[in-house]
């Protein structure tokens, strides 16, 4: 039985203009991408869905005005559940035709200062890290530390920058979770090598196509991102647990890294 005759008839419209034809072909191309991904990652669910299509119980293409066919919506939920998180609240929440995701919608979960978040609204440990690397001045945050204020801001800090190799070398010699200082700085610098932590609203990842190669890479990077985030959280819990001595330790390895970086730079100039 046809529940919505006018919408069903819309599907019988044949595109006559180049613009409509282009849109139709782009839609077909996207449908193929979704089907290939569905069959590759979820073969049994794919087989069930295609059985419904063959029996005429579900359409292969999204109905007119809709972003997704039933099996595509199911695929999105499966990806979210088994591979990596998708922002389903808006992907499926407002699923009109124009909102179809022809590329994979990636919602990063790293630090994003482009969305109006402020360093000063972050946890104390993170604020200290921004202070340590010269991102904010002491007078912005010194009142937050109560009795520890004088001790914290008396810790000598080497001004400058660190290169990745020096930081890596210094951190590898530390015990955990102090050794995770490197992951913390990578997060702050958007330099984790994972799209999940390096992308922001201002610099989004909008070219992840629905291909198995891209999805495999995203799955791999998602695992790495979770690991980095976990290490950064462990570091912050440790730092805030006994903030003065632990910050002194962090400042020590920061200073050591800066000095090594400067030495390398000087040697390079000779």
């Amino acid at each position: 039985m046809i529940s919505d005759l006018s919408r069903t008839l819309q599907d019988f419209r044949v595109p006559f203009s180049a613009y409509d034809a282009q849109r139709f072909l782009e839609r077909v191309r996207s449908v193929i991408d979704y089907l290939v991904v569905y069959r590759h990652y979820f073969p049994s669910e794919y087989a069930q869905s295609m059985e419904l299509v063959r029996n005429g119980q579900a359409p292969l293409f999204p109905l007119h005005g809709e972003a997704y066919s039933p099996h595509e919506a199911r695929l999105l939920k499966l990806v979210d559940k088994h591979l990596f998180p998708l922002p389903l609240w808006y992907v499926l929440g407002d699923a009109c035709e124009e909102n179809r995701c022809d590329t994979i919608p990636i919602e990063p979960f790293g630090i994003d200062l482009s969305t109006g978040d402020d360093v000063l609204e972050m946890d104390l440990g993170w604020q200290l890290m921004y202070y340590l690397i010269g991102g904010i001045q002491a007078d912005f945050i010194e009142n937050l530390f109560g009795d520890d204020r004088d001790a914290i801001f008396a810790v000598p800090i080497e001004p400058g920058k660190v290169d990745d190799a020096s930081l890596r070398g210094v951190c590898e010699r530390q015990i955990k979770p102090l050794a995770f200082f490197r992951q913390v700085l990578d997060l702050i610098d958007y330099d984790t090598g994972t799209v999940w932590l390096d992308a922001t609203m201002e610099m989004p990842c909008d070219n992840a196509d629905w291909s198995t190669d891209t999805i495999d890479e995203l799955v791999k990077q998602y695992g790495e991102a979770l690991d980095i985030k976990k290490k950064a959280d462990q570091f912050m819990n440790w730092l805030e647990g006994d903030i003065v001595p632990h910050f002194t330790e962090v400042a020590r390895i920061w200073n050591e890294s800066v000095i090594q970086t400067n030495q390398k730079s000087q040697e390079g100039k000779r």
Partner: protein, 168 residues
């Protein structure tokens, strides 16, 4: 000096413009030489009025008050809608272009028919994948060509045209 009467104007033109080219007369005959002279004259007159381009020329000899004769050329523009002579040439050129359906439209029809008759599945769609990609890339290619022409035209030095713009 010969005279031209064109759209309520009368003016003299150089004698050279109405002379027949002796080499053409010798090689191809007087009729052909007259055709070429008329064609050249119409081109020259089109600077005065674009309507002269497709006009008919009537040659007469008229007596002057002093008894001498002078050549008068009446220029009768071809009746029609404004700009018609331009669109006629354009339509002629367009008709000469081989007829074809845009590949993207043809492919769309093919796929739409398969969709509507329930014949599409992943296997068949994958068989079409390359054609779909090519059609979409070809479409992008057309846009690139047009935008490239537009970009080059924007940077081109202006040059005066041989004819006055229509309507001026």
């Amino acid at each position: 000096m010969p005279k031209v009467r064109l759209q309520n104007q009368e003016f003299e033109i150089p004698q050279d413009l109405i002379a027949l080219e002796p080499t053409i007369v010798a090689e191809k005959g007087e009729e052909e030489a007259k055709k070429q002279r008329d064609s050249n004259l119409k081109r020259w007159l089109s600077q005065v009025s674009p309507a002269a381009t497709n006009a008919t020329l009537n040659w007469t000899e008229e007596s002057k008050p002093d008894g001498s004769k002078e050549t008068v050329i009446r220029v009768t523009p071809q009746l029609g809608t404004k700009g018609g002579y331009v669109s006629a040439a354009l339509i002629e050129n367009l008709r000469a272009i081989p007829q074809s359906v845009l590949p993207m439209i043809a492919l769309t029809f093919e796929l739409k028919m398969l969709q509507l008759t329930g014949q599409l599945d992943l296997g068949l769609l994958l068989a079409y994948q390359q054609r779909i990609n090519e059609a979409l890339e070809h479409q992008g290619g057309d846009e690139r060509i047009v935008s490239d022409i537009a970009r080059r035209l924007r940077g081109t030095k202006p040059a005066p045209g041989p004819w006055a713009p229509i309507g001026f």
